[in-house]
């Protein structure tokens, strides 16, 4: 375990020293600032309209505030998407890149078990990726709250589900990194991510059109890659009642948001899936020739 923590520490230092963290923070600050500027202008417009309509104030949970609610929802979708990209791109060569460039030989000639190395890489990159998404989520939701006074009803469980999705993506990318070349791994994990997204779309269309076949295909894709289901589960917690009613009225026609909470079994499966991926990565890498 001590060696795994040493490798995790190495991964964190590597992320900092290669300026991955600095570049990410700067670009993310630019993104969040840009987005919040738009929200601030939107808030100003809505407030002016309320004054023009002779209202003293508007409810943060009422229909008049729906644009702000959607701004928070779509903002979190961007955070989820950026976090997913970050999880894959930062981790794609976690093991394979060091194997390909020869660094791994001198490391594994040391008294460290390969399983410890994989665990350390996963832990290090998970801390970076999860920490990043948690930070950006807090910045975005905190910024919206500061500018508009609007706070989504259950932000913490929503962010928790997004973080689980990021941890799962990181685990699957580490697994791919022990099985494939860096490039093949990147392509593979993005295709898998796309399969999960396709599952959400198929489920939405299947639900809208009452098609059992599409619903089954959607469920299969979601089990294969639960990240989209986790996002949809997060959107349930991010929406106030007024948005859920709107969604229910449209029979789930919007594939990006859900009006139903995620099944607990799916959350458990996602966590188990991540653990299985890391376990498989440890087992596979322990038996691989370098």
């Amino acid at each position: 375990m001590r060696k795994a923590l040493l490798i995790a520490e190495l991964s964190l230092r590597e992320a900092v020293r290669k300026r991955l963290v600095v570049v990410l923070l700067l670009l993310t600050a630019a993104f969040v600032g840009f987005y919040l500027y738009g929200v601030w202008r939107l808030e100003g417009t809505l407030a002016q309209r309320a004054i023009d309509a002779g209202l003293e104030s508007r409810s943060s949970t009422g229909a008049a505030n729906i644009p702000i609610m959607y701004a928070a929802l779509f903002g979190m979708y961007l955070v989820f998407f950026l976090g997913s990209l970050m999880a894959v791109l930062s981790t794609v060569g976690a093991v394979s890149a060091d194997v390909e460039n020869g660094v791994m030989q001198s490391v594994l000639a040391r008294p460290i078990r390969r399983a410890e190395l994989v665990a350390g890489r996963w832990l290090g990159f998970t801390l970076v990726n999860v920490g990043y998404v948690a930070l950006v989520s807090a910045a975005l939701l905190g910024g919206i709250a500061a500018l508009t006074g609007y706070v989504p009803p259950d932000a913490l469980p929503a962010v928790g589900l997004i973080l689980l999705a990021v941890a799962l993506l990181t685990a699957l990318t580490v697994l791919g990194s022990t099985l494939f070349t860096t490039l093949a791994n990147g392509i593979g994990v993005f295709v898998l991510y796309g399969a999960g997204f396709a599952g959400g779309i198929l489920t939405a269309i299947g639900s809208f059109s009452d098609s059992p076949t599409l619903l089954t295909l959607g469920r299969v894709a979601s089990v294969l890659m639960p990240t989209n289901s986790l996002w949809l589960g997060a959107t349930y917690h991010l929406q106030p009642e007024v948005l859920r009613q709107l969604g229910a009225a449209s029979r789930g026609a919007n594939p990006l948001f859900s009006t139903d909470p995620i099944a607990p079994g799916m959350v458990l499966w996602a966590a188990l899936y991540a653990a299985l991926a890391i376990g498989l990565a440890m087992w596979r890498f322990s038996r691989r020739d370098l």
């Binding site: 020869g102 660094v103 030989q105 001198s106 000639a109 040391r110 460290i112 020739d289 370098l290």
Partner: protein, 315 residues
């Protein structure tokens, strides 16, 4: 002799092709062992199997009395890979500190040991520079520092001087000799045969994944010492006297006033008798030079005619 490395019928098969095919060798405690062979002979794969980086397809391998899969065994090994690629975002000191911690050294020992090994490989004062700014030679020196950092009992050096200038090569030779003096065994994989001749106690020649011959240089040459002799004149009596002491392999009298002979003697203590015989027959001695066995000639001969090579001291 207790064995530091012992392999028996070691095999590695990749996609139906045997890269290492029944390789048996023994390396003793504190011995500097040269591992020689042409490209594609299976040398690197053998080294990787000895380090636990590659799993054998068959046969047995024991390193320091255990399996290289055991971290306890690897804790006593040092390794400089042929492709010395390291984390170039680290400084030299960070790189060595990381490897020291991986090897299980205590923090205090790492702090004292890192400057010691940096100085030993000629990188004193350069430890705070990023490895990304090192030249190839400096990177190889850093790799060598990492290999000897944790006071190993056995060091694998894969082409340790490939990026070094002549001064660096001499320094590496001195480090290898110092390791031998400390009782550390060295497994040297090198194409520089002159280098191997100078430092190795024993060598093994491999081809197509098999050991063709292994032993000391003396054993590999059948115990013969080639001697170069140059005198001013070679009388029939002197020639007969020399023939009684040694096997006369070649005589060259093309240069006026000089006769050059190549003699093979069975033991080094015959050399003074050669000088006495020359003196007693009234000839003037210009050269009496016992040569070390010529590894390059032996290597080329073995690679061209492996079937003619008798096995020496096979494990």
């Amino acid at each position: 002799m207790s064995a530091t490395i012992e392999t028996r019928e070691l095999r590695k098969v990749y996609r139906g092709r045997a890269v290492v095919d029944g390789l048996s060798l023994t390396v003793g405690e504190g011995e500097v062992f040269g591992f020689l062979g042409p490209n594609g002979a299976g040398k690197s794969t053998t080294v990787k199997m000895l380090l636990g980086l590659v799993r054998p397809s068959g046969g047995e391998v024991r390193v320091l009395g255990g399996s290289p899969d055991d971290p306890g065994v690897r804790a006593q090994l040092g390794f400089l890979p042929e492709q010395f690629r390291f984390q170039t975002w680290m400084t030299g000191e960070e790189f060595l500190t990381f490897h020291g911690r991986l090897a299980g050294l205590a923090a205090a020992e790492v702090r004292t040991r890192v400057p010691e090994v940096l100085a030993r490989v000629g990188l004193a004062g350069r430890g705070r520079e990023a490895l990304g700014g090192y030249s190839k030679g400096m990177l190889q020196r850093a790799g060598l520092a990492a290999a000897i950092l944790a006071r190993p009992r056995l060091v694998f050096l894969d082409e340790p001087t490939s990026a070094l200038d002549p001064i660096g090569r001499v320094e590496v030779r001195e480090i290898i000799e110092a390791l031998r003096g400390e009782g550390v065994a060295v497994f040297l994989n090198s194409h520089l045969l002159a280098e191997v001749e100078q430092v190795c106690d024993r060598v093994a020649f491999v081809k197509a994944g098999r050991v063709l011959r292994q032993g000391t240089l003396r054993e590999l040459t059948g115990g013969v010492v080639p001697v170069e002799v140059v005198v001013d004149t070679l009388s029939a009596e002197l020639r007969a006297a020399l023939a009684r002491l040694a096997e006369v392999r070649h005589i060259d009298e093309n240069v006026p006033g000089r006769a050059a002979l190549e003699l093979w003697v069975g033991r080094e203590d015959i050399l003074p008798a050669l000088a006495d015989a020359i003196h007693e027959h009234g000839a003037r001695l210009y050269t009496l030079n016992p040569r070390r066995p010529d590894l390059e000639t032996m290597f080329l001969d073995l690679m061209d005619h492996p079937a003619s090579a008798p096995e020496v001291a096979r494990a």
